[in-house]
């Protein structure tokens, strides 16, 4: 009975009582007269990478206008964090950009550290770099598989997920969870790496470059792939900059901007790696950039792993006010017990100050803004996420291309709706 009532109320919500006049100004006049067609793409569509809805105005097969409708995955994460102490907000950040939770952890933790003026020990920073680059590989692998499947290359997904399982296995080794790891926390990382982690990652780094060659053999010189990708979805550099695009979507247009180089964090300035930059700004260039980023990530990971072997010490800050004490100390030190109790019941006070910090996630710049209150909960937390910005640029990018190219464009800017809507 309750179900029937709810069904009825949903039926009422579903009925659109507007008319075409409401769309006036959003679509061209030709759509009002019926000369062009309005097509609804999503929110249930296999190629929108989640629950994005696009209202497309089509002249034949050509896109005249594209109106993105977002918010189908709005979770209220920013609002929920306002009700949590800083330590307990980390698991919520996992679930924004669910393809690279480590980057979200890092964006939030680094901002909290900046607010508290908290230092991370060197070993913690190295482990963070390893996590971030592994997350980049895992995220790009999902992008590669889904992007290829959107364009009709079905088998790439099976190859990509084979390697992704290995990365997720390493995350599980570190944190106990495959995806939502909450491993990077304010002050460092949750715990030191287990003993069998280093052999596993070395084996992975040994195998992975050959696997990237396999992906390239499937796609890079594939004539169908080139036909679908080259010259499609061109983003001019000034458009990309004007919309604030970042990450591979910006670098594909030839703008060399990577926060790992421009504003290094977590010791990225000490690693030797290149930032691949495209020249045409089309779907194909963005594809090549991400493939190169696999190789650059492997380069960074190799350096980080050898550094981790040489570096001893704690992996999180020793300041008991902000980081929990070691389990072994709890039985010996009264102070450690007090710190532990205070941290897990109350948290810690952060200054009444506002702070912004950004890091380079696989999709682009993910920025975190925190306004502290002087107490243990923030007044406001906001995330500046790359997917939101890239979706806002879709109307400009898609204009003039064919309907089938829309799928390629959405895939190539690599949006995650959880990241966009939060």
């Amino acid at each position: 009975m309750v179900l029937a009532e709810q069904t009825q109320s949903i039926e009422e919500q579903r009925r659109w009582e507007g008319d075409l006049d409401q769309l006036r100004g959003l679509v061209s006049e030709r759509a009002i007269t019926g000369e062009t067609m309005l097509l609804n793409m999503g929110p249930h569509h296999p190629s929108t990478h989640g629950v994005l809805r696009l209202l497309l105005e089509l002249d034949g097969e050509q896109i005249v206008n594209c109106l993105p409708d977002i918010g189908f995955l709005h979770t209220g994460i920013e609002k929920s964090i306002e009700d949590k102490s800083y330590e307990k907000a980390v698991p919520l950040t996992d679930r924004m950009d669910y393809l690279s939770p480590m980057s979200n952890n890092m964006a939030f933790s680094a901002t909290v550290e900046k607010l508290l003026d908290l230092d991370v020990p060197e070993r913690g920073q190295i482990i963070r770099v390893i996590c971030l680059e592994l997350a980049r590989c895992a995220s790009h692998l999902v992008w590669l598989g889904t992007h290829a499947i959107d364009m009709g290359a079905m088998s790439v997904l099976l190859y990509a997920f084979r390697e992704r399982e290995r990365v997720l296995g390493m995350f599980e080794m570190l944190s106990g969870q495959r995806m939502m790891s909450s491993y990077i926390r304010p002050g460092g990382v949750w715990r030191d790496v287990p003993d069998d982690f280093l052999p596993t990652i070395k084996q992975f780094l040994n195998d992975f470059p050959a696997k990237v060659d396999d992906y390239e053999a499937l796609l890079t010189r594939n004539p169908i792939w080139k036909d679908r990708a080259q010259g499609v979805g061109v983003i001019e550099p000034d458009v990309a900059l004007a919309y604030g695009m970042t990450g591979p979507a910006l670098r594909g247009s030839g703008v060399n901007w990577d926060l790992r180089k421009a504003q290094p964090y977590s010791g990225y300035e000490t690693y030797d790696f290149n930032v691949p930059v495209g020249e045409h700004g089309d779907v194909y260039d963005r594809y090549l950039i991400r493939i190169h980023e696999f190789r650059e990530s492997v380069k960074i990971l190799q350096q980080a792993v050898s550094r981790l072997e040489r570096t001893q010490g704690p992996c999180r800050s020793q300041n008991g006010k902000y980081c929990p004490p070691l389990r072994s100390e709890l039985g010996q030190s009264m102070e450690a017990v007090i710190h532990h109790f205070k941290l897990w019941t109350y948290g810690y006070d952060a200054p009444d100050d506002e702070i912004y910090n950004a890091i380079e996630s696989p999709r682009g710049e993910i920025g975190c803004y925190i306004h502290g209150t002087g107490a243990n909960k923030p007044r406001r937390v906001h995330f500046k996420t790359p997917s939101f910005i890239h979706i806002s640029a879709l109307p400009v990018v898609a204009k003039g291309y064919l309907l089938a190219d829309m799928v390629a464009i959405i895939g190539s800017v690599d949006i995650v709706l959880g990241d966009c809507d939060r």
Partner: protein, 160 residues
């Protein structure tokens, strides 16, 4: 034993219509190609090489609800998305089943706030709930096999 083994020797197997239909339904249950959030990525993992859902006749994801038997609600369901999911469910042809994958779809998970529907069972009937945030592919497989057991136990009187 008795008459059935003699018939089997002759190449004849006896069963009931109920059992035959339920066996067919569990052998090729096509899921809807539909994902909401994080759980959809684990769902993709289950489809991909390591876990390989096609062992259970489920490799064929249908993008249209008209051709799908199984709706796997994978992820948090927002209030804005709820009417869409209900419409998808309504568009599916009988017989149809629903798996609620993950904590968010089952009960709202960690999000008890203004944006999230506290469990997909508020808008559609659910056959199997899977816990986890997100559930591992093994958990999803277990949920699917649990659903198969449930379907095998369905009676003619229950068929829609």
């Amino acid at each position: 034993m008795g008459v059935s083994s003699k018939l089997a020797n002759l190449g004849v197997v006896t069963t009931t219509v109920e059992q035959a239909v339920n066996w067919a339904r569990t052998g090729a249950m096509w899921p809807l190609l539909f994902g909401l959030a994080c759980c959809a990525i684990e769902y993709m993992s289950s489809q991909a090489s390591s876990y390989d859902l096609s062992r259970f006749g489920m490799e064929l994801n249908r993008a249209t609800p008209r051709q799908a038997d199984l709706l796997i609600v994978s992820g948090r369901l927002t209030r804005k998305m709820a009417p869409v999911v209900r419409q998808l469910y309504d568009q599916m042809a009988e017989p149809k089943w629903v798996i609620s994958m993950g904590d968010c779809a089952s009960c709202g998970g960690v999000y008890n706030n203004y944006a999230i529907v506290q469990g997909v069972d508020e808008i559609i009937p659910v056959d199997v709930y899977i816990a986890g945030c997100p559930p591992r592919p093994e958990q999803l497989l277990h949920g699917i096999l649990t659903l198969h057991e449930k379907v095998k136990g369905e009676r003619i009187a229950d068929w829609a």
